[in-house]
C-alpha cells in the first residue's frame, strides 16, 4: 500500500513537472505582451523566460528571427527550389537549412529537388513548360546566370533586396555577371582555384611543390618536364563552353569593342593565348580529349584514377578523390592556381537566382538569401571545403584554425582570395553562339594546323555577323 502511494505520488509529480515544462517551452502562439514582472532574454532561435518577482507565467513574444531579413514574404507561399548536384551527399544539410528557413519564415513551403547531369536540359524544359523552379542554383563560372538572365528568365535583384542585405556579400561577388548593370544572383558557395597534385607522379620530375608555376604562362614548361620524366600527359581542360572568359582571365584578352559593335578577340593577346595551347598540343604534352571536353568530370576522373600529375579544381572535389581512389588521397598536395595575365585570380562559382515568373518573388528571394546568409554558408563550409560568399562567415574560429586535412589547405587564404574575385568579362551578345564559333576555330588551330592568327581572324569575322 505504501509502495503504491509512493508510486502514485511520483507519477503525479512527473506529470505536473512535465506540464510546467511544456508551458514554459511552448512557442509564442498568442500576442500577450510581457508583463513588468517578466524579463525575456532572447537568444535566437531559443527564448528563455526568467521569472523575477511574481509566479505569473506569460507566453513570450520572440524577437524577430535575425535571419529573417526579407520583408513581405507571401503567406503560405509554396516554392520550388532546384539545386545542382548536391544530393545525396548534402541532403541532411539542405533539409536542416530548409527547416531553419521555416522557423525564420513560417508558413512557406519549400519543395527541394536536386538535378545532376541533366540539370540544364531539365531547366530549359521546365521553362518551356511554364513550371520552372522559383529558386534555382546556377553556376556563375559556366556562364549560366548570364545565359538565362539575358533571355529575361531571371528576376533582377538590385531593387528588390535591401542594401543592408546586399552588404552581407563580397561586393565583387554581388556585382559579377551583371547584365546591363543589373544583378540576377545571390552569390552562394565559392571555390578556391587550386591545383591538386599527385605526388606519386609529380615528385618523379624532381620538382618540389614550391616549384609549381605561379603564372599560367609557365605551365607549358612544366608539362614538357612531366612528359619527359614520367611519360604522362598534362590533365588540362579548356572551358569549351566559355572560351571567351578563359581567354580574358588567362590571356588578358579584350573580347569586344567598347561600343559593343565588333569582336576583338583576334588581337595579339588572343593569339598569344591560343598559341600557348597550340604549342602544348604540338609538343604532345597534354591529353587532347581532356583539353576540349565540356565535362569537368572527364578531367577529374583522369586525375582521380591516378594517371595525371595535377588537375585544376576546387578543394571541395577532393572528396571525390578520397571516395573513388582512397589510395591516392595520401599522395595529394594542393597549390594555388597559377595566375593568368589578367592578374585576376578567379570568379564566383555558384549562385542562387530567382525565376522571373515566380508567383512568390519575396518568398523565393528569402529562400535564396537564407541559403546564402553567413550562418548557412558557415555551416556548409564545415561539412565540405567550400567557401562562403559572405565576409562575416570568416570571423568564425573554423576559418582561423590551422588546417589539418588536405581539404582545408586553402582555408587560411580563402577570404583574401575570394574578396578579390571579380567578373572581368564584359557582356557578350549571343554568348553561346560566339563561344561555339570560337571553339570551332580554336580546334582548327589546335588540331588542324590552322595558324592561331588565322583561326581567330576567321572566328571574329563569323562572330561579327551575329552583331546588329
Amino acid at each position: 500500500m505504501r509502495t503504491k502511494l509512493l508510486t502514485l505520488l511520483l507519477l503525479v509529480s512527473v506529470l505536473v513537472t512535465g506540464c510546467a515544462t511544456a508551458t514554459t517551452q511552448a512557442p509564442a502562439a498568442s500576442s500577450i505582451p510581457p508583463t513588468p514582472e517578466t524579463i525575456v532574454i532572447t537568444s535566437a532561435p531559443q527564448t528563455i523566460v526568467k521569472t523575477v518577482i511574481s509566479e505569473v507565467m506569460v507566453t513570450p513574444t520572440p524577437l524577430p528571427n535575425p535571419e529573417a531579413v526579407i520583408q513581405g514574404v507571401e503567406p503560405n507561399a509554396v516554392i520550388k527550389f532546384w539545386t545542382f548536384w548536391l544530393s545525396p551527399t548534402f541532403d541532411q544539410y539542405i533539409k536542416d537549412t530548409i527547416a531553419r528557413f521555416n522557423q525564420a519564415y513560417p508558413g512557406v513551403t519549400v519543395n527541394w529537388e536536386d538535378h545532376q547531369a541533366t540539370f540544364q536540359d531539365d531547366l530549359k524544359a521546365s521553362f518551356a513548360a511554364g513550371n520552372a523552379p522559383d529558386a534555382i542554383n546556377l553556376s556563375v563560372s559556366e556562364g549560366w546566370v548570364s545565359d538565362y538572365a539575358s533571355q529575361g528568365l531571371l528576376l533582377p535583384l538590385d531593387d528588390k533586396v535591401p542594401q543592408n542585405v546586399k552588404d552581407l556579400y563580397f561586393p565583387g561577388l554581388w556585382n559579377e555577371q551583371l547584365i546591363d548593370g543589373v544583378n540576377y544572383q545571390f552569390p552562394w558557395y565559392q571555390g578556391i582555384n587550386v591545383y591538386l597534385i599527385n605526388h606519386q607522379i609529380y615528385d618523379q620530375t624532381g620538382l618540389t611543390i614550391d616549384d609549381f608555376p605561379k603564372n599560367w604562362t609557365d605551365l607549358p614548361a612544366l608539362c614538357a618536364t612531366i612528359k619527359e620524366k614520367t611519360g604522362t600527359l598534362c590533365d588540362i581542360r579548356l572551358t569549351v563552353n566559355d572560351l571567351i572568359s578563359q581567354m580574358v582571365y588567362e590571356g588578358n584578352v579584350k573580347p569586344i569593342s567598347d561600343d559593343g559593335k565588333s569582336f576583338t578577340f583576334d588581337s595579339a593577346d588572343a593569339v598569344a593565348w591560343l598559341q600557348q595551347y597550340v604549342d602544348m598540343v604540338k609538343a604532345g604534352t597534354v591529353d587532347k580529349t581532356v583539353l576540349v571536353t565540356d565535362q569537368d568530370r572527364v578531367g577529374l576522373d583522369l586525375f582521380t584514377s591516378g594517371k595525371a600529375a595535377f588537375y585544376a579544381t576546387g578543394p571541395n572535389l577532393i572528396r571525390e578523390v578520397r571516395a573513388n581512389n582512397p589510395g591516392l588521397y595520401g599522395y595529394l598536395g594542393v597549390v594555388p592556381a597559377p595566375v593568368g595575365k589578367s592578374g585576376v585570380i578567379g570568379k564566383g562559382l555558384m549562385s542562387i537566382s530567382i525565376n522571373a515568373q515566380t508567383k512568390f518573388p519575396n518568398a523565393s528571394i528569402a529562400l535564396a538569401q537564407f541559403f546564402t546568409n553567413p550562418k548557412s554558408m558557415l555551416e556548409f563550409s564545415k561539412i565540405v571545403s567550400i567557401y562562403p560568399s559572405t565576409p562575416d562567415s570568416y570571423t568564425d574560429l573554423f576559418f582561423s584554425a590551422a588546417p589539418v586535412a588536405i581539404e582545408d589547405s586553402a582555408k587560411p587564404f580563402a577570404m583574401d582570395a575570394i574578396s578579390k574575385y571579380a567578373d572581368i568579362v564584359p557582356t557578350i551578345p549571343h554568348k553561346a553562339d560566339v563561344n561555339a564559333i570560337v571553339l570551332k576555330h580554336v580546334q582548327d588551330a589546335l588540331f588542324n594546323n590552322v595558324p592561331a592568327q588565322q583561326a581567330f581572324t576567321d572566328a571574329v569575322t563569323e562572330a561579327n555577323k551575329l552583331l546588329p
Binding site: Q120, D121, K124, A125, F127, A128, Y148, Q151, G152, L153, G231, L233, V240, D287, K288, T289, V292, T293, D294, Q295, V298, L302, S305, K307, A432, D433, A436, K440, Q443, D444, L446, F447, N448
Partner: protein, 291 residues
Amino acid sequence: MTKKFSLTPYLFLIPALVVIAVFVVYPIFAVLYYSFTDYSIVTPPVWVGLKNYTWLIHDTIFWRSLAHSFVYLLVTPILIVLSVLLAIVVNRKLPGIHLYRALFFIPVISGSIAVGIAWRLMLDTNGIINAILLSVGILKEPMQWLAEPALTLPFCMALTIWLGVGYYMMIFLAGLQNIPEELYDAAMLDGCNSWQKHRFVTIPGLRPQITFVAVISSLAALQVFNEVFTLTGGLGGLLQSAYTVVFYLWQQAFRLSHAGKASAIAMVLLAITLAFSIFNIRLLEKGTEAD
C-alpha cells in the same frame, strides 16, 4: 450486295490511334511549325519563315554531319553479314549453344550508354587497348585513340555494330529456324556443298528478315546519337569528326538553344529517312519478286 459498315473495329483502333496522334503525329507537326520559327525553348517561338532552312543550306557543319550520317550507313551491310553468319553458327544443336546465344545477346541488353563508357575507358590513353598494344610492342607510346579525328567515327560505328549484332542475330536465328529442313535435304541431294546450301537456301529464306533488318538498322544508323555522345564525351569528336545529323540537331537544340534550327534539321532528317525507307523496301521487295 453492299457490305454493312461496322464501327467495332474502329473502336478497337482508337487507343492506338490516340497514342500515335499524341506521340507521333502531333510532335511531327509541332516540329514542322517550330522549323519556321526562332525558338530558344525557354522563350516563345517567333515566326521567321524559311530562315532556318536557308541557314541550313549554307551551314558547312550540317553538310559535314549529313555526310557522316551517310558514311554511318556502312554499318548496315556489315551488321547484316555478321549477324547472318553468327546466326548460322549458333543455329546448331550443340551442347551449350544457348550459352553462346546469350553471350552474343548481352551487349544488346547492356545499354548503349554503359557500353559506350566502357569502350571509352578501353580506348583511353591509359586504357586496356594501349596497354595490350604497348605490351606486345606494336606501340612505342600510348595513342590517344579518341583524339584522332580520322578514327573517331569508325570507333563509333564499331560500337554500333558490336551493340547491334546480337539483336539482329536473334532475328536471323528465328528466320533460320523457319526454313524447312527439307529444302536443305533437297539441296544436298542436288549436290550442293555447304556454301551453296546457304547461297541458294538460307539467304533466299532469310530475305524477309534481311529486308526488316536493312530498314531498321539503316534508320538507326541515320539517327545515331548515343555512341557519338558517349565515346566523344559530348564533344562530337575533335574537329567535328564524329558529328552526325542527330548529334548536330541535339547540339543546336540543347547546347545552343536553337530549337528552331534543330527543328529544321529534324524535318530534313525526316524527309531523308522517309525516302530512304521507301527506297529500301521497294528495292528489297523487287528482289523478293525476282526470286
